[in-house]
């Protein structure tokens, strides 16, 4: 159990910075996900926490203790690797027992703890096997077993379920989250899958190009992204972006586009402060924050042409062609529009976002 503080941390590989001035505090017992695309510095961050990489500058603290100069074995962390990193020549039992043996635990403790961990992960029947005789999901459980058997201060999970098939991944998400709740140990979980982060974490740190973009709870990240990049990365299907002009003054400000003109809600006008009022902005709207209809519901509706319909089981995703772009909207499978037909989109203005056209920061 530990609070992990990352303070002004930089990581350079040669001249290239991989992590830039990172500041994160992971509260004791929380489940923190570091989310970002490949190459964003999330794995480097995790490896610095584990002690597998040197910290170029800055500090990492476990509670009050600075761990920069501690070897991995002295940090009391447990890590699950993306490729599981099981010892191929050892049985499952010995794999799980390894951290205990390295710390000189007695044979009775080893037996008790390994069997306890195996029971928790439902792999008791596999203890005699070798890793090559296991399926991906089983290997992953063994790797988790190896991590939990020691009861460390901190769990580090590096994309542990990235290589599993979709169904098993969904199952393991729940299991890992439940496990963390049960054990109550601080967990840092690196992933590029925004769904994993949203569904599992207490807090998410979104990283891009080595920089922390946003820190917050999953709902904050999803509902109030700080910039267009976060907004576009989180959420599936992805948010639609449209470059719009801003027209009007006072309370009557609206977003202008070839296909539409939509007024802002009164509160939103203030948030879109004076600086942007004459220029352009990027409108962001998630596919589920719009409704689609075949008849014009109001003057503010966006007129477009249906490009393609994708049935996603319980939902239907309709791609609508505007004059200069396509946007996607989520609707029900009963939607009757056919490709080529004219349709109208109504934006839920409580759920839309406007970003700066230049640096992409969010006005609301």
């Amino acid at each position: 159990m530990a609070t992990v503080t990352i303070r002004n941390v930089w990581k350079y590989y040669g001249e290239t910075p991989a992590v830039k001035d990172l500041n994160i505090t992971c509260p004791d017992g929380s489940f923190v996900s570091i989310l970002g695309p490949s190459g964003c510095g999330k794995s480097s961050t995790m490896r610095m926490i584990a002690g597998l990489e040197h910290i170029s500058s800055g500090d990492i603290l476990f509670d009050e203790q600075r761990v920069n100069d501690l070897a991995p074995k002295d940090r009391d962390v447990a890590m699950v690797f993306e490729n599981y990193a099981l010892y191929p020549h050892k049985s499952v039992y010995e794999n799980i027992a390894n951290p205990l043996r390295l710390r000189g635990a007695s044979e009775s403790t080893v037996k008790e703890r390994v069997e306890g961990a195996a029971k928790l992960l439902e792999i008791s029947h596999l203890l005699g096997r070798r890793p090559h005789e296991l399926s991906g999901g089983q290997k992953q459980r063994v790797a988790i077993g190896r991590a939990i058997v020691r009861e460390p201060k901190l769990f580090l999970f590096d994309e542990p379920i990235a290589h599993l098939d979709a169904k098993l991944r969904a199952h393991m998400r729940g299991e890992i989250k439940h496990l963390q709740r049960t054990l109550g140990t601080t967990m840092i979980y690196v992933t590029h899958d925004q769904l994993e982060a949203l569904s599992m974490a207490d807090y998410i740190a979104v990283m891009h190009d080595g920089e922390l973009q946003q820190w917050g709870t999953p709902s904050e990240i999803f509902n109030n992204p700080v910039n267009a990049w976060v907004a576009g990365f989180v959420g599936e299907p992805a948010m639609n972006f449209l470059t719009c002009g801003i027209k009007g003054e006072g309370d009557g400000v609206s977003l202008m586009h070839k296909n539409f003109e939509i007024p802002l809600l009164p509160g939103q006008v203030r948030q879109l402060n004076g600086a942007a009022q004459t220029g352009v902005a990027r409108m962001g709207v998630r596919p589920d924050a719009m409704s689609i209809s075949m008849t014009r519901p109001s003057e503010a509706a966006i007129r477009g042409e249906i490009f393609v319909n994708e049935l996603l089981g319980g939902d239907m995703l309709v791609e609508v062609e505007l004059d200069d772009c396509r946007i996607r909207v989520k609707t029900t499978p009963e939607f009757a529009g056919k490709p080529g037909e004219t349709c109208y989109l109504t934006v839920n203005r409580d759920k839309w976002h406007v970003f700066d056209a230049g640096d992409g920061h969010a006005y609301f």
Binding site: A50, E82, P99
Partner: protein, 292 residues
């Protein structure tokens, strides 16, 4: 090793090639095995019987080769009149010693080259291999001078050192490939689990065991069969089997029987070794080369 059934269909050409192949292999087997058969059989023959040859063209006379009363006297001579017991020990110590030393230093160096990035790594690696590029003969004279001034000529440590000089670069080069194929994450997992760097290194040794095994065999073979070093650097105090065999050729008489027996004594252990570990050897040699 993944191998699969290759689908093939007979054509006249493929049939002809397969017949040709069979004939070729048959000749090849005779060509390679006959010397060993002659050596083995002659070592049990008396001199007179050994030189009994059929007339050219007399194929029925072939039986003369197998018409003899077996005797072990050549073997007895080797171990009583000549001290072949000592020579076998010398060969074993020289070959084994150099193999062990090469494996220890070779695996440490190969591991470092595989895992640690440092300035000049590529140059160092090339330099290590390049020591094997010059033919042994080219460096023999300077090497002899160095060994003589260090009083190592004619001693077993000298011979071990000489073999190690040539085996170690080979060990580093070969074992590096094996270490490269072991995922680094396994060591990282070990270190996070509580191992020191050295313990992590030790923990992956079982994974490169086929490579180490294959290398030990090649190393032992090199030293065991070597004549040049043994004759020049080991001469006198550290006589090995090939040199001792050579000395059975004396100006006044060539002891063919003993030479044949010595040949069997020299060859048999390596052949047995080869038979015992051949699966291991092939797996080891290909594992380093092909990523699985």
């Amino acid at each position: 090793m993944a191998s699969r059934d290759v689908v093939s269909y007979d054509t006249p050409l493929s049939r002809a090639l397969s017949i040709f192949g069979t004939v070729f292999v048959a000749f090849y087997l005779v060509w390679t095995l006959l010397p060993f058969v002659v050596m083995f059989v002659s070592s049990f023959k008396d001199m007179l019987e050994a030189f009994k040859l059929p007339v050219v063209g007399d194929w029925a006379g072939m039986t003369v080769f197998f018409d003899f009363s077996p005797t072990l006297k050549h073997y007895t001579t080797l171990f009583t009149e000549n001290s072949f017991g000592t020579y076998i020990m010398n060969s074993l110590i020289a070959a084994g010693g150099s193999a062990v030393i090469s494996v220890i230093f070779g695996s440490l160096a190969a591991y470092s080259l595989s895992r640690v990035d440092f300035r000049g790594k590529q140059d160092l690696f090339f330099w290590i291999i390049s020591t094997r590029m010059a033919p042994v003969v080219a460096v023999m004279v300077p090497l002899y001078a160095i060994f003589r001034s260090l009083d190592l000529v004619g001693t077993l440590p000298g011979l071990i050192l000489a073999y190690t000089t040539f085996n170690l670069p080979f060990a580093i080069w070969m074992l590096k490939g094996f270490f490269d194929n072991v995922p680094y994450a396994i060591e990282e997992a070990q270190m996070v689990d509580g191992a020191t760097r050295f313990e992590a290194f030790r923990s992956i040794l079982p994974l490169v065991a086929p490579g180490i095994g294959a290398f030990v065999v090649l190393c032992v073979l090199f030293a065991w069969n070597d004549f040049l070093f043994a004759a020049i650097i080991g001469s006198g105090g550290a006589k090995t089997l090939p040199v001792a065999t050579r000395e059975l050729v004396q100006p006044q008489n060539i002891q063919w029987g003993s030479i044949m027996a010595a040949g069997v004594v020299t060859t048999a252990p390596m052949m047995l070794l080869g038979l015992v570990i051949r699966k291991y050897l092939v797996a080891g040699l290909t594992m380093g080369a092909v990523k699985e």
